[in-house]
Symmetry: C2
Subunit: 328 residues, 2 copies
């Protein structure tokens, strides 16, 4: 059986990933506030895919970077990602992630908010240590866009007139920009030519868009295993994701009435989630979402033509297939 490209990336970059873990552990240590390390360990060691730091390491390597600061960068993107998870779980009042209780469930909201803030601030300290203003620019911009897009997402929840364009804005900001920056900084630290740095950024962005569309698809079809959050969360939280936008476009009166009651008004009854799944499978909305995710995965893949064909390039290419394989 073929190993997944993520497992292969992990083995290929295992020494570097160990250094990333070491750095994270070292910088989370707080003599006075041991809670910080406990809570961070709970999240980072929770068996996530570590996709973002792997992308950073791979992109630095594909640009022949010979220094050690890509370890910093990989730790930074993992810390920013972890901080957003901590705050997201508080905001969404989620009690389970990857089949394990969330930090806000195990500890409390206070701890999750404060430790999230600490992780953001620590990641900025690590950026400053790289001494590169271009890197600081890329990552601080990503951080600002993440929170701006989450505010936008919040204001669009329950809003049945949310457009595809607004959906794209939300997912580019809340998900794709960190993928884009994770890849871009790998090129920047290697002082790669600007057109190649841009290719890495576009690879990451398209991959992130595809990744989020797949997540939004799986929320109406998946099983608990392998997914970040529990399935059905988007429905319960009345988020207007791409499958819903497509379903509303079909103008089916019965279905429209159902979405108005369950998402706009928020009156959800037992059995509604099953009905939602049936509607989206029946009216072609899930299939359209799947095709759109594949389109973006292919767009990501095309950017890799700017780099020499080698093992890492092939793995980054397979990562795009892997992301959408979850919906095939």
């Amino acid at each position: 059986m073929n190993k997944s490209p993520l497992s292969e990336l992990s083995s290929t970059l295992s020494d570097e990933m160990q250094s990333v873990d070491y750095l994270i552990n070292q910088r989370m240590f707080s003599k006075h506030a041991p809670l910080i390390q406990e809570l961070t360990n709970h999240l980072i060691n929770a068996g996530g895919k570590r996709l973002r730091p792997l992308l950073t390491l791979a992109c630095a390597n594909i640009c022949n970077y010979k220094g050690t600061y890509h370890i910093h960068l990989a730790a930074i993107v993992e810390l920013i990602h972890t901080a957003t998870l901590l705050h997201d779980d508080v905001i969404d009042e989620s009690f389970s992630r990857r089949g394990r209780p969330t930090a806000n469930k195990l500890w409390d909201n206070k701890s999750s908010v404060l430790v999230g803030d600490f992780l953001f601030a620590r990641s900025f300290q690590l950026m400053v240590e790289t001494g590169s203003l271009k890197i600081l620019d890329s990552l601080s911009n990503a951080s600002a866009e993440i929170s701006e897009s989450e505010v936008l997402q919040m204001s669009l929840s329950r809003n049945l007139s949310a457009s595809e364009e607004q959906y794209m804005q939300v997912i580019k900001g809340k998900t794709a920009i960190l993928f884009a920056s994770a890849c871009e900084v790998g090129g920047l630290i290697a002082e790669e030519q600007s057109n190649k740095v841009e290719a890495l950024r576009l690879y990451g962005e398209a991959l992130g868009v595809s990744f989020q569309m797949v997540d939004d698809f799986l929320d109406y079809t998946g099983t608990k295993t392998g997914l970040g959050k529990d399935i059905g969360d988007d429905f319960r939280e009345k988020k207007i994701t791409l499958p819903i936008i497509y379903s509303l476009q079909t103008q089916n009166q019965t279905n429209q009435k159902f979405w108005r009651r369950t998402l706009e008004k928020g009156n959800q009854e037992i059995g509604d989630f099953e009905t939602a799944k049936k509607i989206l499978a029946g009216d072609g909305s899930l299939e359209r979402t799947r095709l759109e995710a594949i389109y973006w995965a292919n767009a990501a893949k095309k950017q890799l033509k700017n780099f020499p064909h080698n093992k890492l390039n092939a793995l980054l290419s397979r990562v795009t297939d892997y992301v959408v394989a979850r919906v095939s």
Copy 2:
């Protein structure tokens, strides 16, 4: 009647403060998420003293800075401060600040968490624009220490064995370090000699320590007006502040029993806050706290000897008196 040194600082630096407000407004504008600007305006225009940005501007001026980046720096410290207020009010479940409803009360916790994250990220973008790694280092370090100290403070709540040393660690981290950094970066942007930059940092730190001790004093004596939070909040939140630590040191058995019930066990009854105030006034704890605050205000003032005597120097000196005048 004498004007307060803060009003005089405000008038002296009014053109620059207008530029700070303009910059903040400009960078809070979000076409897609107007909530960000609404919520930030609610806080920043709430009639706060604007002490931190005034300190930054004054310190840059006292070092004869002739550029324009001190405007950025003053905006940054105000944004960091505002972000911590937003998250603090969520954490402390406070519904009133400076006599007005808090953002988490007017909007909700989600908005406060996300907009706080956005303000932190925006402040980092502004730091990057200054192009100074020393400034980035100072302010990113301050941000990390603020959240680390808030985690420490949380873990010390209800803990009657908290020491004076731990209290100092908490207030140096959660309050004084931002005062210190606000002053330090004024010197750094002016490329002032390092001993003078250090003097500004020490001035800010000592002023911040004094400021926080006064706040902790006023929580058991003050009236609502002029204070950041409502009086009695520390008691209700079971925070172990300096007056409590001093009271526990007196070893009065009756009082100890009272603190064990109300703070350690958290069983608070009607009339307990009045009793708490009486105990602290009677056993000399408030007086000791007052004297300690004055000690730190004087320590701040001494650092100003490193700078030429002029109007701004005199105002910064009077600010130290003003901070402790609230307890006299």
